[in-house]
Structure formats: structure tokens, C-alpha cells
Amino acid sequence: MSSLTLAPPRSAVLRAAGLRHRPALRTLLGVLAGLLLVLAVTGYYVHAGLDRSGAAGCDMALRSCNERWKVFLHGYGPALTVGGNLVYFLGGALGAFVGAPLLAREFEHGTVRFAWTQGAGRTRWTAGGLVLVGGVLAVATALTAAVLNWWIAPLATHAGRFTPLAFSSAPPALVGRVLLVFTLSALAGAVLRRTVVAVGIGVGASVVTNLVAESLRFHYRTPLEDTVHTLAQGSLDHRWEGGLWATDPAGSRLDLNRLYDLGGDYYGAEKLLGEGGYSLHESYQPDGRYWSFQFVEFGWTALLAVVLGAAAVWWVRRRAV
């Protein structure tokens, strides 16, 4: 038969997965397009508000600048905080909604019996679906996160880019988290064969992942240390402060409260620091390390995502219908 085709290219399984998941991917892109529209409109107002308040370019160590910042926060703070927290806790949930049905629905609808008996075999079919949908999800999330990062940026003018709400909205961190939740939900769907339960697990994992990431984040790289001899705040360089302690002239460490006790009050403590041989130490991550931190976070979440994806494929390989 002349029309009998032999040996489709290796990429063909991705094209088949594209056809299979096209309705789901269309829905995903539609939802994200709507979200981007909302972000663009509201983000425009927030940024305009920040410009009007004049808090954008000034030095936060100055009192006048702080006042302007408070005015801005009064008007736009609640909206920014609600939006930021939504992303902070539920940003990864996008992966749950896409990942959970990927394999679970095949079991629920019985379509595995078709998919797994094709010439490509169940391993390539499952891996192809994960790679294709995960790839589209990653690109779409990166785009959304870029806009999201711009949207949340006013919140970071004061405290810096390492602020948890801002940090977890940036593209590398958010993409890594979404992928991690995506493959975890897909694995849960393959094991439990229930879409709804797998979505629940994914949403839970989204919250947990972010809390775990935040607790680990300061230690991604060895913090730097700064020594000063004043309690007065210097100009902010948006560093991420991890800890503050004092040392006495002998070099032994003491608590800040102990320093105040020794000095009697603020001015006494300031005098001890300036003239008494006491010093103040701070461990911090400089603002310049922001992108390396983003990519460390992306690295471990994405690596975990790959491991979970491989586990899903392994499970499908050994699993009977």
C-alpha cells in the first residue's frame, strides 16, 4: 500500500502529545492572557501612583522619602499585598491544574488503553506529554512572571528585591516552582488516578514549596559580613539583612539588647559603639546577588521537577491498567 508510512520521526510523539493536550493548553493560555490583561491595567495604575507619590527615586534613609512611601502604601499597599500573597501562596497552583489531569484523566476516561497500545509505547507517550506540556507551561509562566515581577516591583522599592513576595514572583523562581508542582501533581495523578485529589495535593505542595524555599533561601550562598560603629541607619542599598549582633572590645559576641543595657539607652549604646571599642556586625546578602539567588532557586526546584517527572514515567512503566 503506497500510503503506508513507516517510522515517524522521533519528535512525532511530541506532536501527538500536542494534539492530545491542545484543548488544555488553549485553556491555560486563555487564562494567562486574561491574567496578563488584569496585571497590565492594574500595574499601570500602581506604577503611576508610585511616580505621583515621588517615593520611587528617593533615599529611604531620609525622613521625607519615608513619608512619601507611606502615602503610596496607604493608597496601593492593600492591593499589592493581596496580589503578592496570592502569588506567594498559590503561584505554583498553576502547575497543579495543568499537571494533575495529565495522567489521572487518562486513567479516569480509560484512554490509556488506546494511548499505551500504540507503537510509540507508554514510556515515550508519558515522557512526551510531560515534556511538551511542561515546556509550554514553563514558557507561559516565564512570560506571566515577567509581567508579575514588574507589577509587584513598587512593593520592593522600599525593602529590596529579596522581599519574599517580590522574590517568588520573579520568572526563574516562579517557573521552577510551577514546574515542581506540575510534575508532582502529574505523579500524584498517575499513582492515585484521581484528578481532583491530585489538584489538591499540587495546591498544597505549592504552598509548602514556597515556605521551604523561603527558609532555605538565605543560605544559598555564604552571607557577607559588615562591621559598623554606629546605630544610625546608613543609606539603603537594598541588601538582604540576615542577622545583627554586637561584639565587645574583647571580641566576644553579645545580643543587641545587652548592648542597650550596657549603654543605658540609645545614645549610651551609640557612644559605646563610637568610642568604647564595641562594634556592630551584620550578615547580609548584597543586592547584586539577586539573580544568582533566582537561579539557585530555579535550579533546585527544576531539578526536583525533573526527578518527579522521571518518577511519574517510571511509575507508568511498571504500572498495570
Partner: protein, 308 residues
């Protein structure tokens, strides 16, 4: 056809948690037949087909398909078409996309055949699978399986949900493909009354075991329904393996295996050949009776198939 058997299993068993869906199942189905797999619900038909398709691994024993292939191996997947129960496919996809998926997923693929098949039945390619009628869905599933140009086609209850017209259409397409390609078909079915026109080999499963396996002609030729006086029934039952034994006060009906010849009975007995439906029902009603392939005509008079 490279192998002389399409399904060959020795002592195969499949356990789901605590219960055995299939146990100690020995079966060798020769190539080139349309095989009907019949049995009551829960007899293990779907399990056996799932094992042959490579969807499930056996808990014990070993199975080969198409000669010496392991079920689920790439070579076996290439050469076996499978149509699942209820023909479940992706409801949101148009038929055209399903065909494209099949093309992308298979090394052997005859797109023109599938299109001709579906267009011949007036099934619109741009309609979503979920919006087709049951009969059309079954045809799409069959078209996808046949486009692989399989050497073995496995069908799990393909007719169960279809109306009589759709059944007829389905079997017509299937038997045409058999005639054109010489492929082997194994299908499970409840429709015992329609088997005689469609299959030429019969496998009866009961309680997870193979009860009957053989060519339909041999099976029909090898059984006789004996009707005669009850007083002599015991003597007959000692001489011939009885499949089913129904006795009334005066007259008894014994379905016996004779090995292809008329039973040596006295003049008081009438013997008739039986139809396939009657034969199948008799075995299904007597789960302990069996008729498995052996040397033809070698049924010893003393052999008792009815164990209970």
C-alpha cells in the same frame, strides 16, 4: 505471518489484590483465525486481552504473542491493534486529530485506509469524538486500530454497546479487513447468538480458566446431543465425556463429546448436532466441564470431562 500462534500462554495468572482474575490459564491460539472469547462477566476476558496487549503484566506464568514476542514490547505494539471496551478515546478531539495522533504514534500507519473507512460510513472527520454516536465511535476506534495494519487485532467487547445495525456494520468492516489482510482477530463478546456468523475459533473462559478452545467446526462436529431413556443414561455417561446432563423421569438430554463421530448408542437414543450457541451455553452452565485441544478424535470412552 511469522509465528504460528497469535497468543500462547502457559499457566498464566493475574491477581488483583487478593482475587485471581485469571488462573492457570493455558491457551495456544493459532494464527489466521477470527477468535471469539466468551464467558460470563468476571471470567477474565478483559484481563486476558489486556495481558496480550501488554497493558498488564501477569502475576505468574508467561505469555507470548505473534509467535515469540513479549506483549508490550515495541515489536508487539507495532503489530497488534487494540480496541478497548467502550472504545474510549479523547472526547474533545476531532476525528481528524485522532487520526493524526495515530499517525504520529505508530511506525506502521495507513492513513488512506482509515480515511476511506470513515468516509465510506459518512463519519465527518471534523466532528469531535465525544459528539459521535456509539456506533460511529466504535468505527473510529476500529479505523484507528486497522490503520496500523496489525497482524493481530484484539477487541474487548466491541459489540456490547451497539445496536443491531451498528453491530452488523462493525462486523462487516472487520471481516472485510480479515479477508483483505489475513489478520488474526481475537474479540471478546457476550453476544453468543451472533458468534456463528463471525468467528471460526472459540475460546470459552469460565472462572478465570480456559474451558473450551478449538475451531468452531471441530467443536460442533465433536459434540452430540443425545436424547433417550433415563434408565440408560448412566451407562452412556460412563462411556462418553458428558458436558451437560439433564435428566427427567423418563427422558434425558446428554451433551457429550464424541470426538467427531456419532456416539455408539443403542437404537433408543436420538443424536443431534448442536448449534454454537447451545454449545457455549452448555459449557457456561457447567463451569467444571472442559474441551481443550488434543489429538483429534482421541477422546477415550472412559474420559470424564465432567469432574463433579
Amino acid at each position: 505471518m511469522t509465528g504460528d500462534t497469535v497468543i500462547d500462554c502457559g499457566g498464566i495468572g493475574k491477581r488483583y489484590r487478593r482475587s485471581w482474575a485469571l488462573r492457570d490459564c493455558n491457551l495456544a491460539v493459532p494464527a489466521g483465525h477470527v477468535v471469539a472469547l466468551v464467558g460470563p462477566n468476571g471470567a477474565g476476558k478483559t484481563t486476558l486481552l489486556g495481558l496480550a496487549a501488554g497493558l498488564t503484566l501477569p502475576s505468574e506464568g508467561a505469555m507470548t504473542v505473534l509467535g515469540d514476542q513479549l506483549p508490550g514490547s515495541p515489536r508487539a505494539l507495532d503489530r497488534i491493534g487494540f480496541v478497548a471496551q467502550n472504545a474510549a478515546l479523547y472526547p474533545g478531539l476531532p476525528v481528524r486529530d485522532l487520526l493524526a495522533m495515530g499517525r504520529h504514534l505508530n511506525r506502521r500507519w495507513d492513513d488512506a485506509r482509515a480515511r476511506t473507512h470513515l468516509e465510506g460510513l459518512g463519519i465527518p472527520l471534523d466532528r469531535r469524538y465525544g459528539r459521535l454516536s456509539g456506533g460511529q465511535q466504535a468505527q473510529v476506534s476500529l479505523a484507528l486500530a486497522l490503520a496500523k495494519r496489525p497482524e493481530l487485532l484484539l477487541l474487548d467487547e466491541p459489540l456490547a454497546a451497539l445496536d443491531p445495525l451498528a453491530r452488523h456494520d462493525f462486523m462487516a468492516v472487520l471481516l472485510t479487513a480479515v479477508a483483505e489482510d489475513g489478520l488474526s482477530v481475537v474479540f471478546s463478546s457476550h453476544a453468543v447468538n451472533e458468534l456463528q456468523q463471525s468467528c471460526d475459533y472459540l475460546v470459552v473462559l469460565g472462572g478465570g480458566r480456559v474451558q473450551v478452545a478449538g475451531e468452531v467446526d471441530d467443536l460442533l462436529g465433536g459434540h452430540r446431543m443425545l436424547t433417550g431413556p433415563t434408565a440408560e443414561a448412566d451407562r452412556i455417561a460412563e462411556q462418553l465425556p458428558v458436558v451437560r446432563d439433564r435428566r427427567a423421569d423418563a427422558q434425558s438430554h446428554l451433551l457429550v463429546r464424541t470426538g467427531g463421530v456419532d456416539a455408539p448408542v443403542s437404537a433408543g437414543w436420538r443424536q443431534q448436532r448442536v448449534g454454537l450457541e447451545e454449545l457455549v451455553l452448555a459449557y457456561l452452565r457447567e463451569p467444571t466441564a472442559s474441551a481443550l485441544p488434543g489429538p483429534r478424535g482421541a477422546v477415550r470412552p472412559s474420559e470424564k470431562a465432567l469432574l463433579s
